[in-house]
């Protein structure tokens, strides 16, 4: 965190998507992964960005930080919107240092998941290996583990207002 006086007393509203853990190994690390499977979100916990370069994240000229779109609409217009059952999207809140891009994204120091979006790609129930009794996560399971609601994309604004998130 920083000693600087805050510019906003509140968390920033965001929408983003994740790849759900595609293997037992991945599931052991966490249910939600970045698209490229390079970073895992700790289940039900705040994610705090760190930079390998050693400076506080996010920073100008560096790609470190926690990313989200400023609205569900922006997410849906982006190439990151779920197009299959392997991906899930939801509402996040960001705090701390935040850099807003003019194309509708933000990069934050910290973020938490507050809801998931209902979509047209239900997860099939699938074992990690035949007869293993261990299953890959489904969207329902992810929402249950996180104990957050599943909402429609069109409810994004109302949901954020209910949580007093700052929308742009």
């Amino acid at each position: 965190m920083t000693d600087r006086a805050p510019d906003y007393i509140g968390a920033i509203a965001g929408a983003r998507a994740w790849r759900m853990a595609p293997s037992l190994w991945a599931k052991m690390g966490g249910l939600l992964w970045s698209h490229a499977m390079l970073n895992v979100w700790p289940d039900c916990e705040e994610i705090a960005a760190e930079c390998d370069a050693g400076h506080p994240a996010p920073a100008e000229g560096c790609s470190c930080g926690v990313y989200a779109w400023q609205s569900a609409e922006r997410l849906l217009r982006s190439p990151y919107a779920p197009q299959d059952h392997k991906h899930i999207a939801g509402v996040v809140a960001g705090r701390g240092r935040v850099i807003r891009g003019e194309t509708g994204y933000w990069v934050a120091e910290r973020a938490v998941v507050l809801a998931f979006f209902d979509d047209d790609y239900p997860s099939p129930v699938k074992e990690v290996m035949p007869d293993s009794g261990v299953y890959l996560p489904t969207k329902e399971e992810v929402a249950e583990v996180y104990r957050v609601p599943v909402i429609k994309h069109s409810d994004f604004d109302d949901f954020c207002d209910e949580y007093e998130l700052i929308r742009f």
Binding site: P6, Y8, I9, A59, A93, G96, I99, Y105, Y163, L165
Partner: protein, 53 residues
Amino acid sequence: MVRMVRHGREKKEEIFEPVEWPPRRRSEPSPRREASPEPRREPSRRKREKTPA
């Protein structure tokens, strides 16, 4: 951390500092006060003193 190509112009860094973290639903009642672990005391009864007859 999360890597993505950032493009376009960006605003200067801003600080978002919520009073409550993680954010809670506005209509959600604030956490209830926990009941005092001490058992409720019975009102003390005065011992009746024997009065001389």
